[in-house]
């Protein structure tokens, strides 16, 4: 038996939130959503910065791999996941998840294919430029990537929840 101790902790957050005043839950939610709408242009610019980081790092990929560009691609993908879906690019979210999983798989199983990484970055560029209504082209790109994930036994990212994006 390890020497563990249980401590009762006062929930200060709960006490604070129950103070008189404030706003209703629905007002809070609407307030947040309104503010998020206002920064959507900044987020789109951020998305393009992530893609640019990926492209630059992809130019430095080698075989056998150098960890620096691979880590940068992983970080840019991870950053992209944070907001691509919030600005309607759910497909980019799916590709970024797949790319992170692929890099994790390569690292864990000592495999490598710079082509498999590059095809994801090409797909990201393509999906960013597609019209939001072009579901058919988007599905074709994603289907191609799903084959790559399958080839390297990568855990498939969850499909995008909405058709658009």
């Amino acid at each position: 038996m390890t020497d563990s101790r249980n401590i009762k902790v006062k929930n200060r957050l709960g006490e604070l939130m129950r103070q008189p005043g404030g706003r209703s839950a629905i007002e809070a939610l609407r307030g947040a959503e309104k503010r998020l709408d206002k920064i959507s242009d900044d987020l789109l610019r951020g998305l393009d910065r992530c893609i640019a980081r990926m492209e630059t790092a992809a130019g430095q990929l080698t075989d056998p791999p150098d960890d620096k560009p691979v880590t940068e691609i992983y970080r840019a993908s991870n950053d992209m996941i944070a907001f691509a879906g919030l600005v309607g690019f759910n497909s980019l979210d799916e590709v970024a998840h797949g790319l992170c999983e692929l890099i994790d798989t390569f690292r864990a199983e000592n495999q490598w294919s710079d082509q498999a990484i590059r095809v994801h970055i090409d797909a990201v560029q393509l999906l960013r430029g597609l019209s939001k209504d072009d579901n058919e082209a988007r599905e074709r790109v994603l289907d191609g990537l799903r084959k790559v994930w399958s080839l390297f036994s990568v855990r498939q990212p969850l499909p995008t929840p909405e058709a658009a994006g």
């Binding site: 563990s4 957050l13 709960g14 939130m17 005043g21 209703s24 947040a32």
Partner: protein, 201 residues
């Protein structure tokens, strides 16, 4: 509309809340600050590194920490471990939400085991964040301190130790049921224990 664990008319007051957000990504930070501003938080403490965040922890009494797992100078997991063992009261007990874009199972388990209250997968929309804050506000889990772990109790259900293993805590009961002591109870005595209500058949 997202299913919320509260009524839309329930009031929340975060105007005096001291929230710390640590995220090195500009857009990630922007999303969280705008979201919390919409919830009524006046001035969140925004930090782009673990070192900056720890400085705030030393100076302010915080109510929520939102920490990205990929901080430039230290992982979010290590930051939470350091915070939990820091003995800086009351902040060492503060609710911590860990956030990550890529969330494989190993990272989620590490998040739980470093002492975070919850791990959230990005992207997080406003409804999900509000839901999680409401949950934190009603949390009543004990805080555990041991040589291996410091943080909120990781047991959400009281299921006892795994079969065949001895419990690690003093109040863990054995999974083996011992021999009966005393006479069997009559049905009326059993009924008294369960207090069955009348049923019309």
């Amino acid at each position: 509309m997202v299913d919320l664990p509260y009524r839309a008319t329930d009031r929340i007051n975060l105007s005096c809340a001291e929230i710390l957000i640590a995220d090195s990504n500009r857009e990630g930070m922007s999303i969280l600050t705008q979201m919390f501003a919409g919830f009524g938080v006046h001035t969140p403490h925004c930090c782009s590194s673990a070192a900056e965040a720890m400085e705030v922890v030393k100076k302010r009494d915080l109510n929520i920490l939102v920490i990205d797992t990929a901080l430039p100078d230290m992982s979010g997991y290590d930051f939470v471990r350091e915070l939990r063992r820091s003995r800086i009261k009351p902040n060492c007990f503060v609710p911590v939400l860990l956030m990550s874009g890529h969330t494989p199972r190993s990272m989620v388990l590490e998040g739980r085991d470093c002492g975070a209250n919850f791990v959230m997968a990005k992207p997080v929309n406003a409804a999900v964040m509000l839901k999680r804050i409401m949950w934190l506000a009603t949390e009543s889990r004990d805080f555990i301190t041991s040589t291996d772990y410091v943080g909120p109790d990781r047991r959400f259900q009281r299921l006892g130790p795994p079969p065949g293993q001895n419990g690690r805590r003093k109040d863990d009961l054995s999974a083996t049921v011992g021999l009966a002591k005393g006479p069997d109870l009559s049905q009326s005595e059993i009924n008294q224990l369960f207090k069955p209500s009348k049923v019309n058949l």
